[in-house]
Amino acid sequence: MMSGGKVSGGKVSSRKAVSRKVSSRDFEKCLCMAMNGGEAELTKRPGGEKRGMAEQVKPFGNRQQETRLNGGQRQVEKSMERLPGETVCLRRTAALTRQEAEERFGRYAGCSGITRGTGLRSSFREFLLLQIRFIGLRMWAAQTVLFTVLGSVLWVLMGRGFWQEERYMARFLCGLSLAAAVSSLPFIYRSFRYRMHETEASSRYSFAGVLLAKMLMTAMGDAVLLGAVFLGTVLWTGLPVGSTFLYLMLPFLLASWLSLSLMGRIPAAAFPAACMAAGAVLLAAAGIAGRLWDGFYLQTLTPGWLAVCALITLLCIRQAKRSVRDAVYPKLQIA
């Protein structure tokens, strides 16, 4: 960052006027460097007057965009006018500010005329809605079928009494939530399986955006399905509300966290199998715990369990953010 000054949206704020002056000049110099590929000299008019940034910037096209750019330029020049005309060259500061200058420049380019074609772009929300149509519906339909089949089989095999027995219901919910988690995340892998990842990664939202959209869809679908199961369980079975919540949420969160942690750390081809394995391990662990500890399936939602759920939720969010931010999945797989 600049010494004593902070550049923000074309305005320069600083505690010290001198620092501010230096920063703004260096900043503009860096803009020139970014423009000219390393040529740092500011262009001056014959009369010594500095040429404005917009005059140096060639690629910008339409009038409206130029106006917006000139707005940014005016802000920079306005801050310059308040300062005396002395020139101080601080190479170190310039180097430090160059990155920020480039980012600023990126923003100017963002409102510049480098984009042709329609010019109009849809928002991420619209993109997400379209993703529901293309991918979400299929995923949710598969999950609904899975849940219905599981419920029907148990209904036929175990009879009506099964649904009133707390222990059985807790086991059932445990298995169901694990199935929900491990059946949805592999949908993310479809990009790799069907070799769409390169096309998606080079799109406007990049692979991180697409991944985020898919994760959101997964979360939405799981929330709706688990919510429906929760309501059904509370209304038609003898399991208390707290227990229902706990046995639905805890295994689901654990499986999701494990799957998200695996993402990007193992080869893409192994991801679905690894998710399934993680689900199977958790299911086996729950089974063993039920045998070793009588009260394992008689728990209810206490503050302690709630804290555990909250902690795992935070871990899931952290892993999801890592996946999106670092785009770890495509980085490792495309090579």
Binding site: F134, Y194, Y205
Partner: protein
């Protein structure tokens, strides 16, 4: 409008896929040539922004593409080497999905999709599942996807693989028209695809950029190295071992017309008696190449093509001995400012 590739490098474990490549792409069609493993796809992925270089930077109009982020991808069209699609997708679904990925508003999308389908002769299969289409049609769907957002910068990795000759010609014409004020970079093994339409070509070998120039400039580099002659068919295997034959054609009189690559010699040695005896009566004299002079007796210089340069730079498994100079040393080519490794002595498939 220009894309500056500034000293970029990329390594995979112990392999250097792209090694200090620098070039500046300006509007027009750019052909990127190179053998398998030359680093073309890695370079394209880095230009596409889906892979980060280990060193160097890529700038669009002076701005690093990492800084432009989504803005860069908006002006960008990319056709990957491996065309992927979800199996349930119809052509319509796929293009609408691609339009959503590119952030195009729904209203404009339909009109643009219809235009492209018309242009690429895909209107009839609009509602067909992609999985049921032929290879060429699938490729055309991929091309339509890349053109959807009317990109300023179009990168296509092997776009013509699977297209029949008619489709390739149409595609080339489409691309020429499209590239009038845009940057189009095509990587291909099919040299004729870029020979006619490329404004400039870049040749990669072992991760390095070894040559760059217009087709004419590059072709000039193999001036005097392309020859053709007619030989008896029965002696073809012998010639195949000695010459770097790039093309052969059976003639009606039972002989074979061959086109081959060799360092030109100013003077041909005298015909040996053994070779003269082997020639059919009345046929033009034919002589086997020897160590000092690789040319066969009746050879005449042929007009070089880009394909000849490609085959010169990337020798195929056609000749036992590759080109040598008069002293028997392997030939080194010097192209523009780059140092291009020539065929290696005794190397069958360099």
């Amino acid at each position: 409008m220009e894309l500056q590739i500034d000293h970029i490098s990329k390594s995979y474990k112990d392999k250097r896929a792209v090694d200090d490549v620098s070039m500046t792409l300006t509007p027009g069609v750019w052909g990127l040539l190179g053998a398998n493993g030359a680093g073309k796809t890695t370079l394209m992925r880095m230009i596409a922004g889906i892979m980060e270089p280990d060193a160097g930077q890529i700038r669009y109009d002076g701005l690093p593409i990492g800084t432009l982020k989504g803005r860069y991808r908006e002006i960008f069209g990319y056709l990957p080497q491996e065309f992927g699609f979800y199996p349930e997708f119809t052509v319509k679904d796929y293009l609408e999905y691609a339009a959503a990925l590119k952030g195009l508003p729904v209203g404009n999308t339909k009109r643009r999709i219809m235009e492209l389908l018309e242009m690429l002769s895909l209107s009839d299969v609009y509602r067909k599942k992609i999985v049921r289409l032929s290879g060429g049609m699938k490729r055309r769907v991929g091309i339509a996807q890349a053109l959807l957002n009317e990109p300023e910068l179009l990168i296509m990795d092997e776009p013509t693989s699977g297209l029949d000759p008619g489709e390739r010609v149409r595609f080339r014409n489409l691309l020429s028209e499209f590239a009038r004020d845009r940057i189009v970079l095509i990587s291909t093994h099919i040299v004729s695809d870029v020979e006619y339409i490329a404004t400039r070509n870049a040749v990669m070998k072992d991760g390095r950029l070894i040559a760059e120039g217009t087709t004419e400039e590059l072709v000039r580099l193999v001036d005097g190295k392309v020859w053709q002659c007619v030989i008896p068919a029965e002696r073809l295997p012998e010639y195949e071992r000695r010459l770097r034959i790039v093309n052969m054609r059976n003639e009606s009189d039972g002989r074979v017309s061959v086109r081959y690559l060799a360092e030109g010699a100013d003077a041909l040695p005298a015909k040996s008696a053994a070779v003269a005896d082997a020639e059919p009566a009345g046929a033009p004299p034919v002589r086997l190449p020897d160590e000092g002079n690789p040319l066969c007796g009746t050879s005449i210089p042929a007009a070089p093509r880009l394909e000849d340069l490609y085959l010169w730079l990337f020798p195929q498994d056609t000749a036992q001995d590759t080109a040598h100079d008069a002293a028997g040393e392997p030939v080194k080519m010097r192209i523009n400012v780059y140092s291009a490794p020539g065929p290696k002595k005794g190397g069958r498939n360099a």
